[in-house]
């Protein structure tokens, strides 16, 4: 049952995603891409759970590696998008 609910959420999210991005000005293509790229770093949540495992073993170390990579993705992605967008903003204020 839980799986069906997950699939349900997945399907709805897919349609929602298509609706949200249907008309984006080309000026925003790069920020949209790097911003959504940062969101895909949500896998950091799974990495946290794996890295925080108390059993140790290979699965924990894989989790730690995943955590580092996903955090780079999240932090770097959001920061660089912010930097890019602030360039757009100062210019719009002219």
């Amino acid at each position: 049952m839980e799986l069906i609910l997950l699939l349900f959420a997945f399907t709805l999210a897919a349609f929602l995603g298509f609706e949200l991005i249907s008309k984006v000005p080309s000026q925003l293509h790069t920020p949209l891409m790097s911003g959504s790229n940062a969101i895909s770093g949500i896998t950091v949540v799974a990495a946290l759970i794996a890295a925080g495992g108390t059993e140790g073993g290979i699965s924990k170390w894989l989790g730690v590696a995943a955590l580092v990579l996903a955090t780079v993705n999240v932090v770097g992605g959001y920061m660089v998008t912010d930097r890019m967008l602030s360039m757009f903003k100062t210019k719009k204020g002219d």
Binding site: L28, L32, M33, I42, V45, A50, G53, S59, V74, F88
Partner: protein, 471 residues
């Protein structure tokens, strides 16, 4: 506790949705990005608050990753954006792969017996979890190596042209079949060590397919590839979410997957090609459309003579391409545009959707140089006024201004929408040498009567024009 975590995940998902929506409009984009980062913070904090976690390595991992990400984001030059986006993408993909792998090892060491029992009884949950584990490492693996190859190509560490060799398609098909077979065997219920072997083979093949998939794609098709890999990194996260039964991963990953796919389709449309054609066409490899006969010859003009034409021009359109990024000429272009405006000319920058190496590449560069927003024009807008333009200055753009796309049915790029600079009264094409563009196509624009070539480094040429005005 469980309930609180899940409620927090719902809140995070709402912030992601709002964030993505706001990223789609110029007025709200900055806030949108922050809203979505706040969603991420909620998701992370809610996860950390779960009981029974060992925090030592979590803290180390978070600190190391955050430091590396922050430094990369602060240091990157705007011209280096495509590479960085590709690299971050790859990291996300690899993280999802590792998460899937970690879960596999955990199940194997703790509850493999239960998993197999489930298979024996035909419980759907058991084979489903095997399927999603395979999907997570598959999509994650392809995203990872695909992004690394894209990064190597974009950063010039590897040639930007398409790599094509004999038997490539056969090799790709073989790798795909091998992957399907191994994945199916794994899902069908392999036990113990053989399950592990099959799983590792799936990982290996996924990594291989990522490499094979991106090497035959030439530089000019990179915007499509980057957008698609972005989509894949989201799908990999969603698959990882199915693996660990986590709603926020599924929803957020899927949102990214969908929005990335839309961007991919926009890019394909801008080239009038299908996604399959971009991925499997081997476009831009040697031999593409060489049989054109071109009449006339390329006529060069000196910077000084070009200055006299520009000085008299009432309206000027800049058409930037990847060459502007390579030469880092955006600041010089902005300077020249300002001088032209002061000189009484109307200045526009015409941006083709696939100019450069990632979606929106030229917009980022011109924004960095502080070019006013009002001067940036999209393709259709500028094509409508092109016949009234006195001078069109093409800076390192090639295929996106090639008239063959509109006129020559035998051309591989026939049908691709272009910026119709050939309709302008005069065209200056800034180019390093006489060679063809990435696609290896002859650009008939350069042979037109109204076109004058200015050879040399784009930045030096534009700066030269600026100093002519100053004298």
């Amino acid at each position: 506790m469980e309930l609180a975590t899940n409620l927090a995940y719902i809140a995070a998902a709402i912030f992601f949705i709002l964030g993505i929506k706001m990223l789609g409009s110029a007025a709200t984009a900055v806030r949108g990005n922050r809203v979505s980062s706040f969603g991420m913070l909620i998701a992370v904090v809610a996860t950390l608050a779960r009981s029974g976690l060992d925090y030592t390595w979590i803290a180390a991992g978070l600190l190391a990753g955050a430091a590396a990400g922050a430094v990369a984001a602060k240091r990157v030059q705007m011209t280096g954006m495509p590479e960085l986006v590709a690299l971050f993408n790859g990291f996300g993909g690899l993280a999802s792969l590792l998460v899937g792998w970690a879960e596999f090892e955990k199940i194997r060491s703790v509850t493999w017996a239960i998993y197999l029992e489930g298979l024996g009884e035909g419980t759907p949950g058991a084979w489903f979890s095997a399927v999603v584990m395979v999907l997570a490492v598959l999509i994650g693996g392809v995203t990872f190596t695909g992004s690394v190859i894209a990064w190597l190509k974009l950063s010039g560490k590897m040639g930007g042209t398409a790599v094509v060799f004999g038997g490539q398609k056969a090799l790709n098909a073989l790798a795909m079949l091998g992957l399907l077979g191994t994945g199916a065997a794994f899902v069908a219920g392999a036990t113990g060590d053989s399950a592990a072997t099959l799983f590792y083979v799936v990982i290996g093949l996924a990594l291989l397919i990522g490499v094979l998939g991106v090497i035959p794609i030439g530089g000019g098709d990179m915007p499509v590839v980057i957008a698609l890999l972005n989509s894949c990194s989201g799908l990999a996260a969603a698959a990882a979410g199915f693996v660990i039964n986590n709603t926020v991963l599924v929803v957020a990953g899927c949102l990214v997957g969908a929005s990335g796919l839309i961007l991919t389709v926009i890019m394909c449309k801008a080239m009038n090609r299908t996604l399959a054609n971009v991925l499997f066409g081997g476009f831009g490899a040697a031999g593409g459309g060489g049989g054109q006969k071109v009449e006339g010859e390329m006529k060069a003009i000196s910077v000084e003579d070009a200055y006299y034409v520009l000085e008299a021009a009432g309206s000027v359109v800049f058409v930037p391409g990847y060459g502007m990024a390579v030469a880092q000429a955006q600041h010089a272009v902005k300077e020249l545009a300002e001088i032209l405006e002061r000189n009484g000319a109307e200045v526009r920058h015409a941006i083709h959707p696939v100019a450069g190496r990632m979606p929106g590449h030229m917009n980022v560069l011109l924004a960095e140089a502080d070019v006013p927003y009002e001067q940036l024009c999209e393709m259709d807008e500028v094509n409508a006024i092109m016949p009234t333009v006195d001078v069109a200055i093409v800076i390192g753009a090639n295929d996106v201004v090639n008239p063959s796309a509109a006129e020559d049915e035998s051309s591989p790029i026939y049908g691709m929408p272009i910026i119709n600079v050939f309709e302008a009264k005069t065209v200056f094409a800034l180019k390093r040498g006489q060679g063809a563009g990435f696609s290896g196509l002859v650009n008939t624009l350069f042979f037109r009567d109204n076109t004058r070539m200015i050879y040399g480094d784009a930045k030096a040429t534009v700066s030269g024009l600026v100093s002519q005005f100053d004298d």
